[in-house]
Symmetry: C2
Subunit: 652 residues, 2 copies
């Protein structure tokens, strides 16, 4: 148990501050954790959520949402801190969209006059908001949305309608019961002419009674898989001639004048912007979800022992088996790559936003769009698979909901689908690669260096690896990543030119491209951190990250460039060495992340009990103990067979 | 909607009968489905299980368990039919262990005198059984179990004890509330001397009151991840000097005489047998779980349309995108391989059992053990990943619990861990391979043909593929599988000889070995089916199965044997052709499996509604509609900010 080092306090070290993205973010997390973990409303041990009826879990979420409003007022949290607090509660809350998609859209898409009216109401929670885009029939393809908003010149209103079952707004967060207002995406129609999708702030419920407004039909849409997001009342919503004043079309860009004249937007990239924001945030934070699962698995597998080695008295610590270490340590490295490189992507986006505000220059948006799409696909795929790998590596006890892994998987795997399905949006990455290739502009994007191989097929030096240590040299690692990408991109170009449907293969290509992007990015981070005390830990992580990717990456390299048998072997033993080194640092890294008991929320990682004690205590707490009302039915069940025998005999 | 062909009836065609394992099994499924789907106690639409409190879900399971006892009596079901019926209800039931692990152990491990007493009681459900092996501290390593059974010569009893927290029996199915008797695995101690683990039939609860017996401490152990197995009350159990008569040690093999003399078992392989049985059953049935998920995804993606191709008026059917087809069709092929080859493994095991009964010859047990371990790892890994792939391929609506995918994943992924964790038991496959290699007995096992490459490194012809159609020839497919395995086994031998921990890499090796076993097995099945009407469908499935594996398998083949660029390309286009052909047959294959509405239990696959109608109907049915009791809290939440502002001002 020497390796357990779990508490409810956040310990500050330079390495911790670094891993959490700097002092400001580190302190922010600390403050929020303090406010939440000391407040009984947010207790994670008082109730076993997965045992509750969904209704009761949601009522709890409402109580927490109310308390968060109080905390935001008292602690003077910013919108971003409020979002962080919601995230830490794990189950999503009905108040989640308020400072995320609701206010961000009001702020970006409303005219100044509109903002003056609505933003304060939303910030003070006087209206409760949601964002209604997805329909039963269309998600990724927004052009297919069917909800209409028809301008009625007589009354100066828009009339919103759901013409078909498939136009039902579906999956709309916080809309099943909670929201009073929703930003509804609908096709604008004026005098029978269509102007495409626009946003309409629509009141859903009466502010005094919570009753639905006339013409608004809403149902809560039922449970999600894996008990995901039990704190959110997702809504299914139809509109039947719902009227809103003309002033509630969000009018920063396009407008409809009193006489019905349509004023088109000047900048067509605006709609793009909000997706880029959300994905930049995802790039920054998704990796922590993976790291949290790794931390739980790390604590547990360092506690559990199993099987004896001959001649040894004590059983072996499970973590030290290759079958565990080779699953968990690459994930520790990948999670770290995701957060460190993701932070830089988010920073680049923040810098861009500042430039736009100051100069109006949006030239970088396209590149950021590409980066954030890649990061979204890459980080969510790795995280979801990784969380489940951690659970399975914990064996049977990972299947107990008390381990917390079920909740973690439910809440990370949905990101593979939302904010753009990974297979659908992955198509944008090769599209951008090809655009640069055709325009011969790849030199403007460092992560496209490999396109050179396509122009001059035999360009670049040969791979000169002859021993294990050669594999630790960046130029050799780079050679493999570039060769592999050249191969994949070439195949993609040929398939595209032949008119083939590449929607399946683009996913693999996007992941491979991001391998290279994150590999470059990770080593760049380290170059800037050479003078720190924790550079050895970072290097150990980066080596495992690089070499774990190379185990697979090299297999895409064709003959005659393919690795020789001895190169494959030295790659494999270099990886063994890297794992071994990282294993030595693993405790200090897990400690530096320092996830608290509150954050991990797992019987496998408690401060005051070992995992077996905590699992046994969990059983003692089960609400299904002493279900005496069922006992007579069970006793009676044992008599069924005999009674039926008698009845049968009686009939004969 | 032309492609939807869902009903609640089972349609018989020669192809259907073949896919379901022959007339007897086909009819069995039909009869059970008829009995269950017409009985309101088993209705899958009356209640939305994932919305319920776990308590209520379990009470429902008790009601179903009681009704199943009635049905077994009335329909004169065999134990195996009873097991099939439990499986079809999807949530597991407390009565599940009765005809599975409880009775099978009574029958195998009890003496004839014991059986005469206990088997009829169990068959008539007069006692309700469970099997208590796993402890908090030990699962796979049975030698580490800590529960003790000490012989008390004075009273002619065993005294059962749980000496530590880690010795708590944990995960014990049907034991939290339901079972009256459990087969407890405990270390036998006589006069201070230990004789290893033995089985003890232990009464847990009073038959008239369901109250715990003296010294027996049991808790229900809390929820499982993903709402898995809500119908089972798994137990955490400790024994405090629990006394049972000597006659309740299961005494078919080892015995303890009245005077305390220990009579050791004659055959030491007996304990091995029950694992082989369970795994043989898993080999046979696991694939159907995958196929059910594929069927749901197939129905849905053939209904949904999304995005327009330029110049087309209708949106494209989602199934026809490569991103969907290349995920679902290989799974249709893999699921079919799992069931067809799995049936043969089960048949071989049944034949073996007959031989043992007739002749006592157990020489085939070791080979069957190897086959069933491989099949267990292979079928459960492919099925769990495949079910989740199906869900994700359905996009956002796959995340609704109404899709049924959440339930399917929860109940397939646990098999990756139970009956032997896949990483732990995977070690047995390379161990057996090496044993044959060292003993030069590989010729006795057809699936070890590749070991020849290791003896004569340049043996076997070179790969002579020069065009797409060459890839459809078995000899070329075989070449790749064998070369790959030779590479992996060679690496494994070298690592083992160097004393490395191979517990991680054995998983990959076992999967690769099974690729070859199932590839061989699938084509063997087809050779026997050449004269059927559906051989084209089978061949289309087998080609996609083979070529989908080869897409990855060839990457493990080293230079100088590695595929050339043009061979890789022709392999890829051969795969495209195979997918295309299978796509044409897919409807007829899905129809031949003919999963009923009851079996699929998904809003995405209803007989009388399309998926959008069913999802909307599901929302209308949500128990969270009209939660008027929460409305005042929500209305009040909008006033919180203003009140706090006022309070603050008042303080100033």
């Amino acid at each position: 148990m020497a390796s357990r080092n779990i508490s409810n306090d956040v310990h500050e070290t330079p390495f911790s501050v670094f891993l959490w993205g700097g002092k400001e973010k580190f302190d922010g997390r600390k403050q929020i954790l303090k406010a939440l973990s000391s407040n009984p409303v947010f207790s994670k041990t008082a109730v076993t959520i997965p045992s509750l009826a969904r209704k009761d879990a949601w009522k709890r979420a409402v109580a927490q949402a109310r308390e968060l409003i109080v905390l935001k007022h008292r602690e003077k949290w910013t919108g971003s801190q409020f979002r962080d607090a919601v995230r830490m509660l794990d189950y999503f809350l009905p108040v989640q969209p308020q400072f995320r998609i609701f206010l961000s859209n009001l702020e970006r898409q409303m005219s100044d006059e509109q903002k003056a009216i609505w933003v304060p109401k939303a910030e003070r929670f006087e209206i409760l908001g949601s964002y209604a885009q997805t329909e039963l029939g269309h998600g990724s393809n927004v052009r297919g949305l069917e909800t209409t908003a028809t301008f009625d010149r007589e009354t100066d209103e828009f009339v919103i309608n759901s013409p078909t079952v498939s136009s039902t707004k579906y999956w709309i967060g916080a809309t099943g019961i909670w929201a009073t207002h929703s930003i509804v995406v609908a096709r604008l129609i004026i005098d029978g002419k269509e102007y495409g999708n626009h946003l309409f702030l629509t009141q859903l419920r009466d502010l005094n009674t919570q009753k639905l407004m006339p013409g608004v039909e809403i149902y809560e849409l039922g449970p999600k898989v894996f008990q995901g997001m039990v704190g959110v009342d997702n809504g299914a919503m139809q509109f039947h001639n719902v009227r809103i004043p003309r002033s509630q079309m969000l009018a920063r860009n396009a407008q409809v004048l009193r006489d019905g004249t349509y004023v088109p937007p000047k900048n067509t990239k605006h709609s793009y912007g909000s997706m880029v924001t959300v994905r930049a945030i995802m790039a920054e934070i998704t990796g922590y979800d993976l790291l949290k699962a790794v931390a739980v698995a790390y604590h547990y597998t360092n506690f559990r022992t199993q099987f004896w080695t001959k001649g040894q008295k004590e059983e072996n610590t499970v973590f030290h088996y290759a079958s565990v270490k080779y699953r968990l340590l690459p994930l520790l490295a990948k999670g770290t790559a995701l957060v460190l490189v993701g932070q830089n992507i988010k920073r680049a986006y923040d810098d861009y936003t500042e430039v736009v505000i100051k100069t109006g220059n949006t030239s970088q948006l396209e590149d950021l769009h590409l980066q954030t799409v890649g990061a979204k696909v890459y980080s969510t795929d790795i995280t979801a698979n990784g969380v489940e790998t951690c659970r399975i590596a914990c064996g049977g006890h990972g299947y107990s909901a008390l381990s917390g892994f079920g909740r973690m998987y439910a809440h990370t795997v949905n990101a593979v689908t939302y904010e753009g399905d990974n297979y659908v949006i992955a198509q944008q990455v090769p599209r951008a690669i090809l655009k640069h290739y055709k325009a011969k502009t790849e030199h403007t994007v460092p992560s496209l260096s490999y396109l050179e191989f396509l122009r001059i097929p035999d360009s670049g030096s040969k791979l000169t690896v002859s021993c294990e240590s050669d594999w630790f040299m960046p130029k050799n690692q780079k050679w493999v990543f570039e060769r592999r990408l050249a191969t994949l991109v070439k195949a993609h170009i040929e398939a595209s030119e032949a008119g083939k449907d590449t929607s399946f293969t683009v996913h693999e290509l996007t992941m491979a491209h991001c391998d290279f992007v994150y590999w470059r990015g990770f080593w760049e981070v380290i170059r800037k951190a050479v003078s720190t005390d924790f550079v050895s830990q970072l290097e150990a992580l980066a080596h495992v990250f690089s070499l774990s990717l190379l185990q697979y990456a090299h297999k895409d390299v064709y003959a005659p460039y393919a690795l020789t048998e001895s190169q494959r072997k030295s790659l494999s033993s270099a990886y063994d060495r890297a794992i071994d080194t990282l294993s030595g640092y693993s405790k200090s890294i897990i400690d530096a992340y320092g996830f608290t008991e509150f954050e991990m929320d797992s019987a496998l990682a408690r401060a005051d009990m070992d995992p077996y004690e905590a699992l046994f205590a969990g059983a003692k707490d089960s609400e299904m103990n002493n279900m005496r009302d069922v006992w007579p039915d069970i006793v009676d069940a044992r008599g069924i067979w005999g009674r039926l025998d008698k009845e049968e005999k009686a009939k004969l």
